[in-house]
Amino acid sequence: MGLRCLRFGCALGLLLTVGPSGRPAVAGAQLAVERRLAAELQLRVGDTIRVGPAPDSLRSTLVVTAVYQPRPEPAAVMRRDRQIRMHLPDLAALLGHPDRVDRFGIALRPGVPAESAAAVLDRVAFGYRAHPSAEIASESSETFVVVSRFHRAIGVITVVAGAVFLLCIMLLKVEERRLDAAVMRFVGVRRRTIFAALLLEAAVVAVAGSTLGVAIAWIAGAATNAYYRRLFDTELVFSLVTPGIVGFSVVLSLALGLVAGALAAWRLVRTAPLALWSRA
């Protein structure tokens, strides 16, 4: 999402505007267009389009031989890039650099480690560098690592806010029952019993609340995916509610509910019954 990434974005389609005018035209070559571009330009298989490296040099005519759906690319989802695919010699000729590419992929023989192969290539390289695919994947997903960290931070803040809110509400609710608690103590009910009853109530509320929360999260996640998929016209998944996430959330909310309930209940049962009565 940074400008640096934008600066070096290299969707093939945009390379159409690169290159000087006056290059030889390429005629009759084939190209495949991505689905969104085909929809926007109302292209079908068999149509002929003019392509060029600059707006004033659209001299090459190509035939659409396929419409394809590109693999969803998270880094490109916010951009409005459109892709086409051509045979490499045709594109190179169009751009006026018949023997130049930006990059190429290397498939290694089985058993050859990618890191060592890359290191060997780098030792003899001049003007290029070799990267294991895993390294590329890691670097290109750095943006999403940052987004994940941000989400996690928001999550922590939300949990803290929720915990404070929960403690406050529990305290208020338990204090409302001080008259009942006083009467129970007068008639001989033990502190332990009152504490356990309040804790059980807190647990029930926590379980019910977290169940409701999971349902809301699932609905919100589905709505988020539906909205952003429609907005960006993509098949990417934006929100994922996994069993692990559900489990963690339920355990955390249960723990917070019990702690809040225990604190509030402890505060009530440690107060003398007469004090509870007179405050009521």
Binding site: L14, M78, C168, L172
Partner: protein
């Protein structure tokens, strides 16, 4: 007096009030952060783009500056034509490309800016001297670049461009004198960048044949002249993209839609939490004080006065909580900004959380209004409390 009763009642249960204030403070902090986030990066981006006073960008058709590797051919006559417009105060072409510089036996990559030093809006000099307009033997470096190569103003650096792996050589090479160190406005943290005069950069990046540049920065004679100038240039040069900073920011905003939407959602949640907390606290305390309320009504205090005091209580709680939330919000904003500004390739000058006084004042007003309105239900309870029945219940 009735208002004093309402506000002072908050002191009767210090722990309860303290917890409520803590909850409101956290919610307020979140709201503050989301207000700062909602337009923060756009404002930051706009300030960055306008920082040197160049209000217009000219780029290859269908692209944004430095968005792709596309470039504009024939930039020299284009710039001459742009400068001829009476509303153009300055026009600075820029060519961005990869370069390499020698460090011992190895070559390290650099990002190169080809510029016209007399009309540039990309850097601020921090040490040494600037490039002269026709200085083809000088180079200016970012501090990370200078540190990587161990050079200072006055030293020489070997710069190469157009590396050919088959020939194992460079298409162009120069030994350049480091004139000065600069802070490149659009660089990310730690970026190694070099600045050369445009003709030299074109030679090093094989762009000289077509006289190419990545984009052109224009400074209009006044901000008011910008819209008309943009329209004029678009009509005169349909083969290029002309955008004012306002338009660039709008396009940028679309790319960062997610953050704006997130800020609206979380900001709304914060408001809801504040309303719920204040409403719950006030409802419980009103129920506890029904006897006092009935007494007030019995001795002649009007319903309106009772309602006012409950609303005042809600407002006081919200105000106090929000005041605590300001410091917390600024601290969490700094923390969250540190996370987001670590996006790879993001200019170091960009911030996501930008405190704008007007926006913060609006947020504070909305929060206060929400907290006050949260007292509507409990004040309704207080207003309709049955006086006689309550007094009877109190007496038994």
């Amino acid at each position: 007096m009735a208002l004093a009763w309402g506000v002072r009642s908050l002191r009767r249960h210090p722990l309860r009030t303290a917890l409520s204030l803590a909850g409101i403070a956290v919610a307020s902090a979140m709201l503050l952060d989301m207000v700062m986030l909602s337009g923060g990066i756009e404002r930051s981006f706009e300030r960055l783009l306008l920082g040197r006073g160049f209000q217009i960008r000219v780029s290859p058709k269908g692209t944004l500056p430095f968005d792709t590797e596309a470039s504009i051919a024939g930039v020299t006559p284009l710039v001459r034509d742009l400068r001829a417009d009476p509303a153009v105060a300055a026009a600075g072409p820029v060519l961005g490309a990869s370069l390499y510089a020698a460090r011992g036996d190895s070559l390290l990559p650099l990002f190169g800016y080809g510029i016209d030093p007399a009309a540039q809006g990309l850097y601020a000099l921090t040490a040494g001297a600037d490039l002269a307009p026709a200085d083809t033997s000088g180079v200016i470096l970012s501090r990370p670049a200078a540190a990587a190569f161990g050079v200072a103003p006055g030293d020489t650096l070997r710069i190469l461009g157009g590396l050919d792996p088959q020939l194992a050589g460079a298409a162009a090479e120069r030994r350049l004198v480091v004139r000065g160190l600069v802070r490149w406005i659009y660089d990310y943290r730690g970026q190694r960048s070099a600045g050369l005069v445009l003709p030299l950069m074109q030679r090093l990046s094989d762009a000289v044949r077509d006289d190419r540049a990545s984009f052109v920065m224009l400074r209009a004679t006044s901000d008011a002249a910008v819209p008309a100038l943009v329209a004029r240039l678009r009509a005169r040069h349909p083969q290029i993209e002309v955008n004012s900073i306002t338009e660039l920011v709008a396009q940028f905003r679309q790319r960062l839609l997610y953050f704006r939407q997130l800020s609206y959602i979380l900001g709304s949640v914060s408001l809801i939490v504040t309303v719920l907390l204040v409403a719950t606290l006030l409802t419980i305390t009103v129920n506890e004080r029904l006897g006092e309320i009935a007494t007030l009504r019995a001795i002649g205090v009007s319903r309106a006065s009772v309602v006012r005091q409950v609303l005042a209580e809600g407002a006081a709680l919200t105000l106090a909580g929000a005041a605590l939330g300001v410091g917390l919000g600024l601290a969490t904003a700094r923390y969250l900004d540190a996370i987001l500004t670590s996006f790879p390739g993001l200019p170091a000058a960009i911030s996501f959380f930008v405190p704008e006084p007007a926006a913060l004042a609006t947020a504070g007003t909305v929060l206060l209004a929400a907290g006050s309105l949260a007292g509507l239900y409990p004040s309704w309870l207080a207003a309709r409390a049955p006086v006689a029945a309550t007094l009877r219940a109190e007496a038994t």
